[in-house]
């Protein structure tokens, strides 16, 4: 064999090896999500959504020829733990991207960490407006709808279905509970609803019967609540006990009735209406395929957390392909203004505040004890629901 052939073969082998190595180098996405604790069911849906999307993407060849790898860590819905785990994922596991945080505290804190580590994160669950308004960050993106969008959809439905309704407000007495009520109240009053009173119960109240007297006295036709989890179960079932569910329409925030508590609420959830960005009953062909695949893989229907998390991978893939890699600045540029397709239709990531614009829906629960459906009873187009860009940081 001549020297040139030898060198040539060696070069080819090395190139081949190098090429093989870079093709095999996976894209790592860190997922810091509550896998234990009260928010574990949300973390579970997030996990399922991400895993389903990743399996599909990997089966179709990955992103730019690289397979996607998900690395999960439990944040226990505690920002102190989230920051620790996120740092581990950034520095030890060297993830290219991070997602999964559920409560807004964790999202904000991990976002700050991302800035310090020069990486990007996205949230698929946190709906506190602050994340893309006054506390926005150039390294944080949100693919799910925020509270303002949800309120817009619900208020619109309320104005159409129950014009000039008398509304009573009941929420858990903490920052999130109060601000959600305040946001919806503002939106509803703008469309003609009358407010007949409000009460805030301590977070984790066992017994809501002590508020029923005031509720009855106000004689509302609609009750808006921003409770979540166990609190919703207790509120709605106790209201059913006391016969308050007749002649009263209950509406609420997106987190009020979810897969975590709907089993326990049972029939008392029938007729509950909320404004969300997703319903498993959406009739688009993408959604039907998605729901079928989800059910097949996990034996349960996806909820909005599962769907939004699934959509995140599509977002990430489109961005990486547009940027040609996972370099942070290029990725950020690619993500801003990006439009991509999700089970809920097309979403667009607004460049000014990193908030996804999407069509919003008013969804009503039909619960007859045997099964539950989330029927879509109203739609608000993305641009109408989105609200102004209040992020001034970038």
């Amino acid at each position: 064999m001549t020297k040139t052939t030898l060198l040539g073969t060696a070069a080819l082998v090395l190139l081949g090896l190098g090429g093989f190595a870079s093709a095999a180098e996976p894209i790592r996405i860190g997922v810091v999500t509550p896998l234990s604790g009260t928010y574990a069911p949300i973390g579970q849906q997030v996990r399922w959504g991400l895993e389903l999307a990743t399996t599909e993407v990997n089966a179709a060849g990955g992103i730019l020829g690289r397979q996607v790898e998900l690395l999960f860590e439990d944040e226990e819905a505690n920002p102190a733990v989230a920051t620790q785990k996120a740092e581990k994922l950034f520095q030890v596991n060297k993830v290219d991207f991070l997602t999964g945080t559920v409560n807004s505290g964790s999202t904000l804190v991990v976002g700050q960490l991302a800035e310090r580590n020069g990486r990007l994160i996205a949230t698929t669950v946190s709906f506190s407006d602050a994340i893309t308004t006054d506390k926005c960050s150039p390294n944080v993106f949100r693919v799910n709808a925020r509270a303002g969008q949800q309120s817009a959809a619900l208020a619109e439905w309320l104005a159409k279905d129950k014009p000039k309704a008398k509304v009573y407000y009941l929420g858990p007495d903490y920052e999130m509970g109060r601000s959600t009520v305040a946001a919806f109240k503002a939106a509803a009053e703008k469309t003609g609803a009358q407010s007949t009173g409000e009460v805030f119960a301590p977070l984790g109240s066992k017994d809501y019967s002590q508020y029923f007297g005031q509720l009855r006295a106000a004689r509302p036709s609609v009750l808006y609540t921003s409770t979540a989890g166990n609190d919703t179960v207790r509120l709605l079932t106790q209201m059913g006990e006391y016969g308050l569910l007749r002649n009263l329409t209950i509406v609420g925030a997106s987190g009020t009735v979810t897969a975590q508590n709907i089993g326990a609420i049972g029939k008392a959830a029938d007729g509950f209406v909320t404004g969300v960005g997703y319903s498993a009953e959406l009739a688009t062909p993408e959604n039907q395929a998605f729901v079928a695949a989800f059910r097949k893989a996990y034996d349960t229907a996806p909820d909005l957390y599962g769907a939004d998390s699934y959509g995140l991978i599509g977002f990430f893939k489109a961005a990486v392909e547009k940027a040609g890699g996972t370099d942070t600045d290029a990725l950020r540029k690619a993500m801003e203004g990006l439009s991509w397709s999700t089970p809920q239709g097309r979403k667009t990531m607004r460049a000014g505040d990193h908030q996804a614009i999407q069509d919003m829906y008013a969804v009503r629960i039909a619960a007859d004890g045997a099964s539950t459906r989330f029927d879509v009873v109203g739609t608000v187009p993305g641009d109408a629901a989105i609200g102004p860009d209040l992020c001034t940081r970038f």
Binding site: S36, E73, P79, A80, K88, V92, G105, Q112, E175
Partner: protein, 346 residues
């Protein structure tokens, strides 16, 4: 044992610090060994090039400060505080507010936290020290709950989201300065602070003040007959513990850049108590060792399973039943048997 205690109390002009050093109790040798190990660890972690391990260890040391404050009360005075996180969180919030809104000065933040801890400790101490034993535990528990809830609901303090945007600062010691953004130098600083706290507290506990506390722990009713006002000593050690916790808490936002109400929740207090029991109650170095061990354990176990509470809980219960004096205590017992030297505490 009681004779030794009496002699010390009535003879304060005993041997000075220098000859004390040569008769260092085994627990202090253990502390020195720990310091050496920590320095070795720092070198190794720095060599790996990523700051995660160093910052994790720094966090463990910060929580070790909280655990030491619990040990001051439990191990030396016999008072179980289930709400020490109140002062830890207070120090953290005060420090965060100072750094973010007043001046990016390490010294100012620490001073403010110290002051806040002292004042809060005084108030809390006056309320809690009216009672003993389990009632004391329940009152401290309740105090922390109420405070945590208040912070959780206060918008000015960030409510449930807490405060972010605490800047990374540089700390000046005359000509030298170090950056909190640099994991190695901040770790070393916190290590130095921890060792200084340990040394200071250990000295105090060996001094007449500490002996009186030991007497209170042994039999509070007898103490007045020896001429000491038990209540004053209990209040003093409570305020001291609150200050230690607050100073430890003040370091947290410097490390992580944020504070959140979870720092005041019962979980934090409970973890501190577990750390003390598993590490070694009444040794001061035990809580430090315990904190490092449990932080590492949680990090590792947490990656396998989300049910790490069961693991920690089992270890904790085993310590309560079988290893009464914790890991360090068991180690010290072995060492004492070999060297024939022991601590003169009941």
């Amino acid at each position: 044992m009681p004779e030794a205690t009496l002699r010390t109390l009535s003879d304060p002009g005993r041997a000075g610090p220098a000859s004390r050093l040569s008769r260092l109790a085994p627990v202090h040798w253990l502390a020195l060994a720990f310091l050496a190990a920590a320095l070795g660890f720092a070198a190794v972690a720095w060599a790996t090039g990523n700051g995660f391990y160093l910052r994790l260890a720094t966090e463990a040391l910060i929580f070790a400060g909280l655990a030491m404050s619990v040990d001051l009360l439990l191990g030396y005075t016999g008072l179980l505080s289930l709400g020490q996180a109140l002062y830890f969180g207070l120090g953290a919030y005060v420090s965060a507010l100072v750094l973010r809104d007043v001046a990016a000065s390490f010294w100012l933040a620490m001073a403010a936290a110290l002051l806040a801890g002292g004042v809060a400790g005084l108030i809390g101490g006056v309320i809690a020290n009216r009672v003993k034993g389990v009632y004391f535990a329940l009152i401290t528990f309740g105090l922390a709950q109420v405070a945590a809830k208040t912070v959780y609901n206060t918008r000015a303090l960030g409510a449930s989201d807490g405060l972010i945007g605490i800047p990374q600062i540089s700390i000046g010691f005359g000509p030298l300065s170090l950056d909190t953004a640099d994991p190695l130098s901040f770790f070393l600083l916190v290590l130095v602070l921890t060792v200084a706290a340990y040394a200071g507290l250990a000295y105090l506990m060996d001094a007449p003040f500490g002996r009186t506390l030991a007497a209170i722990r042994a039999n509070e009713k007898r103490v007045p007959f020896l001429g000491f006002n038990a209540w004053r000593y209990k209040l003093a050690v409570y305020v001291l513990a609150a200050c230690v916790a607050a100073l430890a808490g003040a370091l947290y936002p410097m490390l992580r850049g944020f504070v959140s109400p979870e720092l005041m929740f019962f979980e934090t207090s409970g973890n501190a108590v577990i750390t003390v029991i598993v590490g070694g109650v009444g040794t001061l170095v035990g809580p430090v060792v315990g904190s490092l061990l449990l932080t590492a354990l949680r990090s590792v176990v947490g990656s396998w399973t989300e049910h790490h509470l069961i693991v920690v809980g089992v270890i904790f219960m085993l310590s309560v039943i079988f290893l009464r004096k914790g890991l360090v205590g068991a180690l010290l017992a072995r060492l004492s048997r070999r060297t024939g030297q022991g601590r003169a505490t009941p």
